[in-house]
Each structure stands twice: as C-alpha cells, then as structure tokens.
C-alpha cells in the first residue's frame, strides 16, 4: 500500500489543494465539520466530524435562481454553475453510505436534482477508515463497514502513525498519481477494529413497522421529543428542504434550505389543515421514514449508524433504543 507518515498529511493536502478545493475534517469553535483546507485549520482525524458532509452537496441554504418582479413583469434568470473541482478528504464509511441514500433521492425516480448532481459530479472522495468506534457509533448494525467505505475514489487507511492510500476508482487512480511523489510503498496490515458500544438489531424492523402505524409506541416515544430540528440537521441522510424567496424591492432570489419534519409548519397547508399536527405524528413519520418508508421506496435504510442524533439530541432520543422498542413491541 502507498503510505505516508501521519504528521506529513498536510503536505498531501497542500499538494491536492493546487488542483482542488480540498475539504478536510476540522474543528472550529468547538464544532467539527468539513472545512476548506488551509495551513492553519485544526485537522480532526481521531473521530468523525459533527456536521455531516451533506452540506457540501446540499447546502443548508442554496440559491436556485434570481428573478425580478415589477408590476406585471417578471424575469427569471438561472444562476451560473460553479466549475470548481472539489475533493473531500477524510469522509467516513457511514457518511459515504449517506451519499448513497442522497443519490437515491436526488438522482432517481424520474427527476434529477441539478443542483445536487452538479456538486456530486465535481467532488472527489477520499474515504478514511475508522480505527475504533466512538461511543455513539453503530454503523455496523446498519450494514456499514467502518474500515472500507463504498463509493469513494480513494480509500485511505488510518494506520495509527501512518496513513495508507488505495485507489478505488479511475478518478482515484489519477489523484493518487498526483501525490505519489510523497508516498512510499509499504506492506501494512490494517489495525483491527474494536467492539461497538451501541448496537441495533434492525433485522425484520422495516417489515414489522408495516403493521405499527397505529401502535401506542409512538405516543410513548414522542413524549420527550422537543420537536426541534437538531436530529434532522445533524443527520447525514435527512434531506428535506423548503423553498423560499428573499425579496428586496424588485429583486429576488429563490433559495432552498434545509427543512425538518419535526417542525409543525412543514406539512401545514394554506387552508389550515395539517396532516401531522402534533409531535406524535411527526416523530412517527421521522422514524417510519428512516426505517420503513425509505427502505420500501429505495431498498435501503435511511440511517447509517453514524450516531450524531444520539449525541446531539437534547433529550437523548436514541434511535437504537427506539429500534429495540420496536422489536420488543407486541
């Protein structure tokens, strides 16, 4: 395998930054997220970042088109498409899995989301293997291999003191060639991965949920939920959005921005009717969507076991505990 000492990783990133806008896992003001690489970013390699990489492809706020509305007239103007090639270094297996989910949503079922597709196509991915599970990780339960991601161009391996690189796609091969001058060939073994602290037995859950729409479990589970959007916003797979406009005088911009199924306004219709009026319906929809509706529609779970919601929920709504409750429900 091609390897480099871990402390020399910045050299690799520096070199790649000549050709790409390189995004790296970094910490700023106590929050970790993918950040454009520069010499002074504080790299985070020991654990996955808090904010998932979805905002690179599907930003929290994204301009869609401009318009000018004056009296009876209207002009609609599409925005120029960015051309810059991007590269994410250090995306983990769970987050790669989330891109698979997002691809299903944005690229299939008849319509292609141009905004997403454009960014997805010009972003190369260097995955980084995990050395040990964090306390809220349960990716293995969701069918993810934390040491071998699916869908990356290059798989990088965290070898404790070193980092190893293995090209997966043709694009990955090209990237690897660019940095090959910095790498040495070495026989290495990938460190063994520890035991997961959290587990979820998902076997049969989507099927069981089919008959559980009216089950009392939802009233029970939802009681402590605050109906804030923290879980949906830190989730790498949640992809709901709203479309809104920002208008100043005659000029306006149509934007789309993340929305959350936890908010009441999400399904509130103009006439006043709301099919999901209380937190019971909203919580039910969120977990049903992750564990039943999405698998039914796209043949995969909408949870990657990254554990972010478990860590960040202010009231500890734990999806693994909910899965357990579903399994145990009569």
């Amino acid at each position: 395998m091609k390897i480099i000492a871990k402390e020399r990783l910045p050299e690799v990133l520096q070199l790649l930054a000549k050709d790409y806008n390189v995004l790296v896992p970094a910490k700023f003001e106590g929050v970790t997220r993918f950040t454009p690489y520069s010499g002074d970013v504080e790299l985070v390699l020991e654990e996955n970042v808090l904010m998932p990489p979805k905002d690179i492809f599907f930003p929290q706020t994204e301009k869609m088109y401009k318009f000018k509305a004056k009296n009876k007239s209207l002009e609609i103007e599409e925005l120029p498409v960015e051309k810059e090639e991007q590269l994410i270094f250090g995306i983990r297996s769970c987050d790669l899995k989330s891109l698979e989910c997002l691809d299903q949503v944005f690229l299939t079922k008849g319509y292609v989301d141009h905004f997403y597709k454009d960014k997805r196509e010009r972003t190369a991915l260097i995955a980084l293997s995990c050395v040990r599970p964090q306390e809220a990780c349960f990716c293995h339960s969701m069918g993810v291999d934390p040491q071998n991601g699916v869908g990356a161009d290059i798989q990088a391996y965290d070898l404790k003191e070193k980092i190893g690189f293995k090209a997966i796609s043709e694009k990955g091969q090209e990237i690897l060639e660019k940095i090959s001058g910095l790498l040495a060939e070495e026989e290495v073994s990938i460190p063994s991965f520890g035991e997961f602290n959290l587990k979820a037995d998902i076997e049969g859950v989507p099927e069981k949920l089919q008959g559980m729409f009216e089950h009392p479990i939802w009233a029970d589970i939802s009681r402590k939920c605050l109906n804030c959007g923290a879980c949906t916003y830190v989730c790498p797979t949640c992809h709901c959005f709203d479309i809104d406009s920002e208008v100043r005088g005659e000029d306006g911009v149509k934007i789309r921005c993340w929305d959350s199924c936890m908010f009441g306004e999400y399904t509130q219709m103009a006439g006043g009717h709301n099919p999901r009026p209380t937190k019971k319906e909203r919580v039910r929809n969120r977990f049903m969507h992750k564990l039943r509706y999405f698998p039914e529609r796209y043949q995969m779970l909408l949870c990657t076991g990254c554990g972010r919601c478990v860590i960040k929920c202010p009231v500890n709504m734990d999806i693994t505990a909910i899965i357990k409750k579903i399994k145990e429900a009569e």
Partner: protein, 301 residues
C-alpha cells in the same frame, strides 16, 4: 442521591397506585452514563426507571404544557431551577396550579456533561457552569419535598448570599464594538436554527412562535448570520425578565453557542436598571418588562 432516588420511586408509585395522578414526569438513565433524560411514568411497575443523579439537567416544567388540555393530574419532579420555570409558566398563565402535583428535590448541582464525556466515569467532573452560579438550588414551589428540608435550606442560604459571577459577561463588555460583533457573529455563524434552544426553554411558551410562521415574513428560512442573530436577539429580548437561568438553551444547543451569555447580560442589566430581580421566584404579576416604575432611570431626555 441514591436515597432521593428511592424516595422518588416510592412517592411516584404511591401517587400512581392511588390514582392521584395519571403520569409522573421524572428522569431515567439514558444511552450513556452521563445522560439522564426525561422519563414519563404512567404505570406503578415502571417507577424503578426513575433516577436522581448528577445528570438530571432537563427542566421538566416545560413538558407540562403538553398536558394542559388533558384530563387528570400530572406529577412532576422539580429542582430549584425547574420550580422557577414552573412559576414562570404560572406567571404567563400557561398552567393551572391545581392540575399538577409538584415534588420538590433539593439540587446539589448537576455535572457538566461535556466534561463527563471527556474525563470518563472515574474523572473529577466539575459542576455545569449554570449550576455554579445557582442561587436557588431548592425548589420554591412544591407539594412534596424530598430530602432534609432544613439541611437543604441551610445549604441554599449560603448560595443566595453569593454574588453571581458576571465575569464572562464583563469580559465581552470590555471589548471594542468591532470585537464584540466579531465574537457574536462567529458564534451565530454556526447556528443551524434547529430551535432546540427555544423548544427547551420554559420562557418560550408562545402558542405559536413568530419563527414558526414564515408567512408573516419576520424570518426567512435562509440560514445566514444576520437572520440567525435576528432570531437570537429577538428571543433574548423576549425572554428578558423571564429567563430563569436553567441554562437548558445552552445545553440543548448542538452547536455550542454560548446562549446564556446573552441571557446573563440581560439579567445583569435588569438588576442594575430596575432593581434586583430573579425571575420565577415569586408569582406576583410583576415582570420587569411588563411593568414600570415612574422613577426608572431616565436616559432618553
């Protein structure tokens, strides 16, 4: 605290068995050892889930709003700050006192969850910042009181006398306007507007928040520093004089924004301008911004 836990369970069992209440709101152990999330107990056989330990941060009073229109009584465990929250909800006419059975617990202070995670179960974990400043660790309103009331009162008396440490606020006050703005912008730049701070806050009890009514145009869905600060400052002004310093907003924030630094500033100024005031201590209809004194400071001549 083991003792309190046992008393909690016993009392909850009794209330449920006698049918005095339909549900008991308390805390139970969560996914990790340093989490004690809210628990809703409606069967006597489930009372063993209840705990009281160093991590019962959650302010349960806010949940009482979910039971406003339900029949029957609800029992709830209240720490000092939770009881102030209950009073604020009474003050705001959100709750009827008779519907709730209040079980007061003297609070020794909750421990910092982030530090707990970092230092591990055997570490010497400090109190959460909000608890270091607490003046009212004992419940101010209750029907039952768990633990030794006298000892608790004595312990609390030393705290009430203690001046609140505003050094963090003062540090910001000393900055130049540009430094202040940079500081707050960098904090609110990362706000994702999940509204966890608002939803967890007992003073945020409007039937429908303006930030949930995008058709009114007060706030757009777009996330940017300007809109995020608009949200933060509007909320800070709205809870000014009603913030009971439970610090839940800051704990709930997934993005580590020091929200209490805004609230503390307002509390400090209210005390200076309009006289010492602690929200949720008394229910007397006299809120600092819902009330005035003809002799208030005059700066607008």
């Amino acid at each position: 605290m083991k003792e309190i836990t046992l008393q909690m369970q016993e009392l909850a069992r009794e209330l449920l068995q006698k049918g005095e209440v339909n549900v008991v709101l308390g805390w139970e152990k969560g996914t990790f050892w340093y989490l004690s999330p809210p628990a809703f107990i409606d069967k006597p056989e489930d009372v063993e889930r209840l705990v009281f330990d160093d991590y019962c941060h959650h302010n349960l009073s806010k949940y009482l709003m979910d039971y406003r229109y339900q029949d029957g009584k609800v029992a709830v465990f209240l720490k000092g700050c939770d009881s102030r929250a209950f009073n604020i909800l009474l003050e705001d006419n959100q709750l009827e006192r008779e519907k709730y059975v209040l079980i007061g617990i003297p609070c020794p202070g909750m421990k910092d969850q982030e530090k707990a995670k970092e230092l591990g179960i055997n570490g010497d974990i400090p109190l959460a910042k909000k608890c270091q400043d607490c003046k009212y660790p004992n419940p101010l309103v209750y029907d039952y009181f768990l633990g030794d009331k006298e000892a608790a009162d004595e312990a609390a008396a030393t705290r009430e006398a203690k001046a609140i440490d505003y050094s963090d606020v003062e540090q910001i006050e000393k900055m130049t306007p540009d430094e202040k703005y940079d500081f707050w912008s960098s904090q609110y730049e990362r706000c994702i507007r999940c509204y966890a701070c608002r939803n967890v806050c007992p003073a945020c009890n409007c039937r429908e928040c303006i930030f949930d009514q995008s058709r009114t145009g007060w706030i757009g869905k777009a996330n940017n520093t300007s809109e995020n600060q608009f949200f933060a400052l509007t909320r800070a002004m709205h809870v000014a004089g009603r913030c009971i310093e439970c610090g839940e907003c800051e704990r709930a924030c997934p993005m580590n924004i020091p929200i209490m630094l805004l609230n503390k500033k307002l509390i400090k100024d209210i005390n200076q301008l309009f006289g010492e005031y602690d929200a949720g201590v008394k229910v007397d209809g006299v809120l600092p911004l819902g009330h005035f004194d003809k002799n208030d400071p005059e700066e607008f001549m």
